[in-house]
């Protein structure tokens, strides 16, 4: 007997991919030259590249968020972590002679420490994720300002310039960095059993406990990883503007990141991690933003469009909606039978 081990990709998986495709095609109709890609000095340029370039910070945050949501959690503090890691990067670059690598390491460690804090509140103290991460969301920007001394700290560093706007093998360096992180994450999730365990804990914590899975440790890891991703995003954003703005760095990025995960089809009640689709989701959001900007519509439509998409996706996902549609269909079928 043969068992099909991989079912054909279903509508749920295809929807985000098709949406992205349609979005890009639609935009290219409105905006001529949208699909153009040119190579200048061995570097790739073009609107599509620009989208990917701009999407990297949010994409990284979304990847961390996808895992946290997979464990039935949520991380509202990512914006604050971005501000903190950006602040650490800027202050250490300005005030010390440390190698940029070390500075970057410190910024990443700061982000992971924030994640650890969130994780401890969730696992050891048993505080609901929304509440636990809210604390850092409130206090985090204050901490970031404390680090920068309340100023917008600007810095100059070849290394960070490269991370912000440099190229590597023809591609923007930060895109390469994001690809490396996403691919590495995917490998760790799928080539070890970690991904499976995350999903198991998110879908049914009690069953997982009865199978000997250490859910506390896994949830802790998820938040630390989310801290890491946010810190990376913070470094890129700081490198991009060559400065740390504790007030505005990463503002509302948590919303975009959650939106990306939701578009990917993951349920907010945990249990599934769709890394690839989350990347697509992030690209959809960035394409939308860019499309609205380039199509001449006022930028303010951006927020409204995003809000409408979140609501639409959630309403489609809602089991109530499905039940409603199902019962309607059944009624229709029954009445057609009667006739």
């Amino acid at each position: 007997m043969q068992f099909v081990s991989k079912p054909r990709p279903d509508a749920k998986t295809l929807a985000p991919v098709i949406s992205l495709f349609v979005l890009i095609m639609g935009t290219s109709l409105v905006t001529p030259g949208f699909l153009d890609i040119s190579i200048v000095d061995g570097h790739i340029y073009g609107s599509l590249v620009d989208i990917v370039h701009r999407a990297t910070p949010m994409l990284l945050v979304a990847v961390g968020m996808a895992i946290v949501i997979g464990t039935k959690g949520i991380d509202l503090s990512v914006g604050s972590i971005i501000a903190i890691s950006g602040a650490v990067t800027a202050v250490l670059t300005v005030n010390t002679e440390w190698l940029p690598f070390v500075v970057m390491g410190c910024a990443l460690l700061a982000g992971m420490a924030c994640g650890l804090w969130n994780g401890l509140l969730v696992t050891v103290f048993g505080i609901q994720p929304i509440v636990a991460t809210l604390i850092l969301m409130v206090a985090g920007r204050g901490i970031a300002q404390m680090i920068t001394g309340g100023q917008i700290v600007t810095f100059h560093s070849e290394f960070f310039n490269a991370i912000g706007n440099g190229f590597f093998a023809g591609l923007p360096l930060r895109v390469v960095l994001a690809i490396v992180i996403v691919v590495a994450t995917a490998l760790v999730l799928r080539k070890t059993a970690l991904g499976l365990f995350f999903e198991s804990v998110g879908a049914n914590a009690e069953s997982s406990r009865l199978m000997g899975i250490d859910s506390r440790m896994l949830i802790l890891i998820a938040y630390v990883f989310s801290g890491f991703c946010s810190a990376m995003a913070g470094i890129i954003l700081a490198a991009d503007i060559r400065g740390a703005d504790a007030n505005n760095a990463g503002l509302w990025l948590e919303l975009d990141a959650i939106l990306a995960v939701v578009i990917a089809g993951a349920s907010l009640s945990g249990g599934r991690i769709y890394l690839g689709l989350t990347v697509i989701g992030a690209l959809i959001i960035q394409t939308l933003t860019t499309a609205i900007l380039t199509s001449g519509l006022p930028a303010q439509y951006n927020l409204i469009v995003k809000a409408s998409i979140v609501l639409l996706v959630l309403l489609i996902q809602s089991s109530r909606t499905r039940d409603f549609v199902k019962s309607r269909l059944m009624l229709a079928r029954r009445s057609s039978h009667v006739e």
Binding site: M1, F3, V4, S5, K6, P7, K191, T192, A193, L194, L196, F197, E199, S200, A203, N204, E206, S207, S208, R209, L210, M211, G212, I213, D214, S267, G271, R272
Partner: protein
């Protein structure tokens, strides 16, 4: 009994209720008189809760009629039930733990003055309600600062309210201690003397004989019979509940016997117990032996399994594994020793519904190996393929979310999940609950095969017949205590039922 002048308080006549695939109530008729305490008994799935929900308007019956005081009544929602004076108190106290006693008692019906709630008259009304049940507690104290028994009393006080005529108590004693139960019974007797009709659902036979006037037994949605309490012996009652006629069960005994004199002891429990859950008990499990746990619902079967595996942490007693004393307080420790556990509540404690059949199947083994050493996909597929065929699991493909499989197939996947870890001891709690007949037989056969291969099994089941079919030894549970142990030739449905009823 029903003469024209004095019709019964409530009579339920030929009530049917079906759910897709299940007939939950099949022609059930009951009569409840004023001033009567009527015990409603039955195992899981017998239809007790469905009947109560029909009476309280949560479900609408398919057919049949309800007659109160000789007049037919129609109950379409809980408001209708309220209107007719039918009040229910559930085991899980359906009050708001974070609100005060007075707030709970008057919720939704607070007396108002000039459009605003008047707490002074609300409190005096609440005090009146508490007096009815003989309770004198601070009205402004938070409900959850009181013991479960007091909360239960408050719930009854709220239920009685005004115009209550029928009180349904759904397992009110499950989490009470004996003193609290005595207090509750006192209240029930008082209400009875006031002419209230009380329907009392419980698993505890002692309590049934203590308090009830009449006993009705349901089984598989059918009404087995209604009896005067003093005229029904305990063993007859248990046979009615389990659907076994003791007289026909003379020589139907276990075909399994096992010399375990020189067999190695796998797990032994010494005075293992936990307060409010299970009274301390001793239990030994030998290699290649199947030990059955028999008893009625709520007798402590499940708790034995949970404490043995460490799913719940025992607060007293010692465990030894293969002759040496070990601490097995968490599932992780148990699995490391070579134990496995299929819990009773498959949906919440067994399957991981969103994950696929393959993932569910390998999860326990993968967990034992650790996240860093993943099973290669080829190995996974080979194992999953093998067990899908060996246990005859019906699924279109192994990537189907397990939540979409039927109960029997889910159970087989859970079994397979543990079998691939090659445990020395497998604990099965109600392995055949909610499973169709075909799969039922298959699972029993699997249990027998496993034991033939030298695995030890601890199997809790409400089906005495099933236990007799495969157990070498049976521990009989009653009221959270181990009351007897039968082994070898003496295992028969009759002996077990007698031990349960005693």
């Amino acid at each position: 009994m029903t003469d024209q002048n004095n019709p019964p308080l409530l009579s339920i006549e030929g009530v049917h209720k079906s759910f897709p695939g299940v007939r939950a109530l099949d022609n059930v008729s009951l009569t409840l008189n004023a001033g009567e305490i009527h015990a409603l008994l039955g195992e899981n799935g017998a239809g007790k809760s469905t009947l109560i929900k029909v009476l309280t308007g949560i479900y609408v019956k398919d057919s049949g009629s309800l007659v109160m005081d000789g007049k037919p009544v129609h109950i379409h929602d809980s408001l209708d039930a309220q209107k007719h004076g039918i009040r229910t108190v559930y085991q899980e106290i359906n009050l708001i733990p974070t609100m005060t006693v007075a707030e709970n008692l008057t919720l939704l019906d607070q007396p108002k003055r000039m459009g605003l709630i008047s707490w002074r008259s609300a409190e005096s009304r609440a005090r009146e309600m508490l007096r009815r049940v003989g309770l004198d507690i601070d009205l402004r104290s938070q409900l959850d600062s009181h013991s479960v028994a007091i909360q239960q009393m408050v719930a009854i006080a709220r239920a009685l309210g005004s115009k209550a005529r029928i009180l349904i108590l759904d397992e009110p004693t499950a989490s009470l201690d004996s003193q609290e139960i005595a207090r509750l019974f006192e209240l029930m007797r008082q209400l009875k003397s006031e002419g209230m009709g009380i329907i009392f659902v419980t698993h505890f036979l002692d309590q049934v004989y203590d308090i009830s006037d009449t006993i009705s037994v349901l089984r598989n949605g059918c009404h087995v019979g209604t009896f005067k309490t003093e005229a029904l012996s305990r063993s007859d009652l248990v046979s009615h509940m389990l659907g076994k006629d003791l007289d026909t069960l003379h020589h139907e005994q276990s075909d399994s016997s096992l010399e375990h004199g020189n067999r190695q002891r796998i797990l032994s429990l010494k005075q293992v117990g936990r307060r409010n859950m299970l009274n301390p008990l001793d239990l030994d499990l030998h290699q290649g032996e199947v030990v059955g746990l028999a008893g009625l619902l709520g007798s402590g079967r499940t708790e034995v399994c949970q404490l043995a595996f460490g799913a719940k942490r025992p607060d007293q007693g010692r465990k030894s594994w293969l002759g040496t004393e070990v601490s097995i307080n968490t599932p992780k420790q148990a699995i490391a020793q070579g134990m496995a556990y299929c819990p009773e509540d498959r949906k919440h404690h067994g399957i991981v519904a969103e994950l696929s059949v393959r993932e569910n199947l390998i999860l326990a083994l993968q967990s034992a190996r650790g996240w860093w050493s993943p099973m290669p996909m080829s190995e996974q597929k080979a194992i999953v393929d093998e067990f899908i065929q060996r246990l005859n699991i019906k699924t279109p493909h192994m990537e189907k979310p397990i939540g979409e499989l039927s109960g029997g197939n889910q159970q087989k996947v859970i079994l397979a999940r543990w079998l691939i870890t090659q445990p020395k001891l497998l604990i099965l709690d109600e392995p055949t609950r909610g499973i169709d007949v075909g799969a039922h037989h298959e699972i029993i056969q699997i249990i027998k095969d496993l034991c033939g291969e030298g695995m030890s099994l601890l199997v809790a089941s409400s089906e005495v017949e099933e236990i007799v079919a495969f157990a070498h030894r049976v521990a009989v549970m009653r009221d959270r205590t181990k009351v007897a142990e039968v082994s070898g030739d003496r295992i028969s449905q009759k002996s077990i039922i007698q031990a349960i009823a005693q």
